[in-house]
Symmetry: C2
Subunit: 173 residues, 2 copies
């Protein structure tokens, strides 16, 4: 079966990795696609805006992460949740139920070694051929870049927080 | 009056400049902000998905461009439309009616010299202090970067079209 779908990665230290993924979510919605979002590691106030938009558009949204590790008070639980998030995502990749899956901040599950890079690569390669995949997060590993079709590195030229301006509601989350 | 708003630029040759801006549009909508979009140069099939999303969310959308210059059969009309788009955007910047203005592909009006960089810089600096601004497009001039708060360069690591895969409905537009 010829693969009809593509894999996109937004990586790098600059702003725009997740916001670009949620822009693509909007395009996919506009085309009548079935979209799913798995949010891997951000909790709390982050992604509230995106989640509200997804709910408004009837887009399936799973928050399975437990915040970034440096916020964690129970590392075993964090690791278990991170692994579980990947297992759920992997099932969705294989299911054939989605035209687009957004795996937001997936790279951190590999960076913190909750999930092996080879497992993620296999999940991507063995996905249902119809399912496009959008992955975000800093430090995408080379093996993942190798199996992707479109990879953008968001490079910070300057950022408001360097001038002491805090992350803004409505813009950053 | 202290400025409460910021200016963001997405530039570079990689994918994600406009999609990131439309992700931010979704966040701003989720917060109840008043958002306006001025689409400078893309016409035709491009931005159909984003426009549909904006309509669904009751976000004001203006398409004033006439496609990229290399598609133009009437250059004088193209230039006049590009200039007019900037004049409309400039009024909106000053009006105080918006929490966020997205000036999509604005950089091309400067690249093709329809509008002087200094005019755009003045419009940004003299905007209503409440209005956040998100500008997209390749080749943002240094003078514009100088007055921005957050600037991201989208760098192409790889792109599906390099393997002959055409721009996909639902992903790219």
């Amino acid at each position: 079966m010829a693969r009809k779908s593509i894999v996109l990665i937004n990586t790098g230290d600059g702003k725009g990795k997740s916001s670009s993924a949620f822009g693509v979510m909007g395009r996919a919605w506009a085309r009548g696609w079935t979209v799913g979002v798995v949010q891997f590691v951000k909790g709390g106030k982050w992604k509230i805006g995106e989640k509200k938009l997804a709910e408004h558009l009837d887009i399936e949204w799973h928050t399975l992460g437990d915040g970034f590790t440096w916020e964690s008070t129970d590392m075993d639980e964090t690791i278990a949740k991170g692994r579980h998030a990947w297992e759920v995502a992997n099932e969705k990749l294989a299911s054939g139920d989605y035209d687009l899956l957004i795996l937001d901040e997936l790279t951190y599950t590999m960076k913190y070694e909750w999930v092996e890079v080879a497992e993620v690569v296999a999940g991507i390669e063995n996905r249902n051929p119809k399912t496009n995949v959008m992955i975000t997060g800093r430090g995408a590993p080379q093996e993942l870049i190798d199996v992707a079709d479109t990879v953008t590195e968001m490079v910070k030229v300057k950022h408001a927080y360097d001038q002491g301006i805090k992350a803004m509601k409505g813009i950053e989350f």
